[in-house]
């Protein structure tokens, strides 16, 4: 509905929004007496300046891709899944159980089984809210919030009373056997001469996440299920007319959503910690909401937004490591990024659009435009 070229919409507008976020972050930094320029340099250097930095950025991004996709899939069916956090926790449980108790001949088999287990547990945790929504009309927002809390309690119970090896202090499972260790980027990309990604947690799960993006894209826009899912999300009454069962779609959408959230565990639990610790999700479920919303629920958008948040996370960590900036400052920067790129994007878009319209409009008012009839 406008004369603005697509590139301006997908690149220029977010870029200006990011600059605004950076500007306000700089103001906050100045206010607490820090040098914003130095901070920016540290962040960029620390998050994309080396393979090591990338190793962290991509690790975080992997988490956010999974939870972002989870929220996005549910969004397409107009279900607001706030429960990715809990679902990812349960996914961690599933992954931990198979890794601890099944003997694997090779990591690749372990990975496949762990994906299934994580997805299964995550999906199971989403199934109850989904069922209650479909059958009882219980609002999915409430039930998924509640299930986050319940998941916490369940995991504390299991880790403290059941899964914790005796004699250790940490409420965590034992470390997984070597056969269940995933190859890290370090192992995958280092050669004789050069060591890459040393010590960084990024691992093969990243490629699973990328595959998940492609899978979700195909699911949503290429398959019949995706077609029905989106149709239901747009209009429940029309879906009924077309013979699309609301119960089935709600269940399927939430199961897929929960499954994706559960899959996050292959990255943080299996790939990084190599054991299940308390609170292993660390808020990635909530970041996933922001990621999905900013990515406009499109897998590619989710991918980009997850990268952005990976960058902020890792850059922020470096900031805390090398400067005396409180770690909460990173949360502020994240908030500003979400705000400007996600919620206030029209503030940027409208003037840019006006500029394009003014430049793009030739001085011929008699342009015959067919009204859409």
């Amino acid at each position: 509905m406008n004369r603005m070229p697509t590139w301006a919409d997908v690149i220029l507008v977010p870029l200006v929004s990011l600059l605004l976020a950076a500007f306000f972050s700089a103001i906050v930094l100045l206010a607490i007496g820090e040098n914003p320029w130095e901070a920016l340099k540290l962040m960029v250097e620390g998050s994309v300046g080396s393979t090591y930095a990338w190793g962290y950025t991509l690790y975080y991004a992997t988490n956010f891709i999974f939870t972002g996709l989870a929220v996005a899939v549910a969004n397409h069916a107009k279900l607001f899944n706030i429960g990715a956090e809990g679902q990812a926790q349960l996914g961690g449980l599933g992954v931990a159980l198979v890794c601890l108790f099944l003997p694997f001949p090779h990591w690749s088999i372990a990975l496949i089984v762990a994906i299934c287990a994580g997805a299964l547990f995550g999906a199971a945790w989403a199934a109850i809210p989904a069922f209650l929504q479909a059958k009882r009309g219980s609002h999915i927002v409430i039930t998924t919030i509640m299930f986050n809390f319940i998941a916490n309690a369940l995991l504390v119970y299991l880790l403290v009373n059941v899964l914790k090896p005796s004699g250790t202090m940490e409420p965590a499972t034992a470390s997984f056997p070597d056969a269940a260790h995933l190859p890290s980027f370090n192992a995958m990309f280092s050669s004789e001469e050069t060591v890459r990604f040393r010590g960084a947690p990024a691992n093969v799960s990243f490629f699973v996440a990328v595959a998940a993006c492609i899978g979700v894209w195909a699911l949503i826009w290429r398959t019949r299920l995706g077609y029905q899912l989106r149709a239901f999300g747009h209009s429940e009454s029309a879906a009924r007319y077309a013979g699309i069962s609301p119960t089935k779609i709600i269940m399927v959408a939430m199961l897929i959503s929960g499954g994706l959230a559960g899959c996050m565990a292959i990255n943080n639990v299996m790939g990084e910690a190599e054991r299940l610790v308390l609170n292993s999700v660390e808020g990635a479920g909530f970041i996933g909401i922001a990621v999905a919303l900013m990515g406009r629920s499109h897998p590619f958008g989710v991918f980009l937004a997850a990268l952005l948040f990976g960058f902020l996370y890792q850059g922020g960590a470096e900031l805390a490591l090398w400067a005396s900036i409180p770690r909460e400052m990173i949360v502020v920067i994240q908030a500003l990024v979400i705000l400007f790129t996600g919620a206030l994007d029209n503030m940027v878009r409208a003037p840019i659009e006006r500029i394009f319209n003014r430049v793009g409009r030739p001085p011929k008012p008699e342009r015959k435009l067919e009204p859409a009839e």
Binding site: Y56, Y60, M169, E170, N268, Y313
Partner: protein, 308 residues
């Protein structure tokens, strides 16, 4: 330079991270030296921070928290020339010093005081997040109480199951009120930042609170019976002072070496009677002598004095 890594709670957790921070600051103030530090915000950063400091040549590297056990086990062999100090966990590597505290013993002592100070024969315990470490506190405390007054009741509650439990003074206050309505008149808080809510409410309701980790008697003079001090600051201070060539291996901080204990100062001098003083000192001596075995919850995940 030495370096210190705080756990996820952050260095101002009013608990052992803060204590560690105080120890480091104390060293810096005394020697004029400087140290590197970082607050983690994610589990994945443990390894990152350890390697960063090791590679930057920081030595020794102190870390506060049992969650470092696994990463440190992995990393320590990579940096044989660096000495690591881990607090609250045991890592069996040649270049690691493991410092653990007998919190159960210290808690036993404040349990003795609590039992004697209580007029209702009911005392409370408010824990932060329900993890083994906190149960260790609770268990030692309950043993001390029961040993002193077998008729006493210990009301124990945990604030929650998420890390938010460390920062929820509102709920801590409510728990304290709930314990008061169950007749508790001494409440021991082992709850990080939430503990402030416990001590505040205890003061408001005119009963006794017991502080934890550092000496918190000053928070509400005359209302904090004592504090179970856990000398994380000393551990950090010592590590920093001894520098690169500190002794590795297991180091147990107990009553004997004043790693744990109860706090006495002007703020609570009037609250502890001669009789109490005698009793608690006797108990301390008995523990040192091995006459009293305070059961450590984490040794076998069970507690003789209280159920979880």
């Amino acid at each position: 330079d030495p370096a210190i890594i705080y756990d996820l709670g952050g260095k101002f957790d009013k608990s052992f991270n803060e204590s560690a921070f105080n120890g480091a600051t104390m060293w810096a103030d005394e020697t004029g030296g400087s140290f590197a530090e970082v607050e983690l915000q994610s589990d994945a950063q443990r390894e990152q921070a350890l390697r960063r400091f090791a590679e930057a040549g920081n030595n020794p590297i102190v870390m506060a928290g049992f969650s470092f056990e696994t990463p440190l086990n992995e990393i320590a062999p990579d940096y044989p020339d660096t000495t690591f100090v881990i607090i609250d966990a045991v890592v069996d590597q040649p270049n690691v010093r493991s410092v653990i505290f007998n919190e159960h013993e210290g808690s036993y002592l404040v349990g003795v005081l609590a039992a004697m100070a209580s007029e209702t024969d009911t005392v409370g315990f408010v824990g932060g997040m329900d993890i083994p470490l906190i149960r260790k506190f609770a268990c030692g405390y309950a043993q001390g109480v029961m040993a002193t007054n077998p008729d006493a009741t210990v009301v124990a509650n945990m604030i929650g199951t998420t890390p938010e439990a460390w920062n929820d003074p509102a709920k801590a206050s409510e728990l304290t009120l709930a314990q008061i309505s169950q007749d508790a008149d001494v409440v021991y808080a082992a709850a990080g930042g939430s503990g402030l809510g416990v001590l505040q409410t205890a003061a408001d309701e005119d009963i006794y609170g017991i502080g934890v980790d550092s000496n918190q008697n000053y928070l509400h003079p005359g209302q904090v019976l004592t504090s179970m001090v856990k000398q994380v600051d000393t551990a950090v201070y010592n590590a920093f002072s001894q520098g690169e060539d500190l002794e590795t291996g297991l180091m147990v901080m107990g009553i004997e070496n004043e790693g744990v204990g109860y706090a006495m100062d002007d703020n609570n001098a009037d609250l502890i009677s001669e009789e109490m003083m005698t009793a608690v000192d006797e108990a301390a001596a008995a523990i040192n002598a091995g006459d009293i075995m305070v059961h450590d919850y984490t040794s076998d995940e069970s507690c003789p004095a209280i159920d979880f």
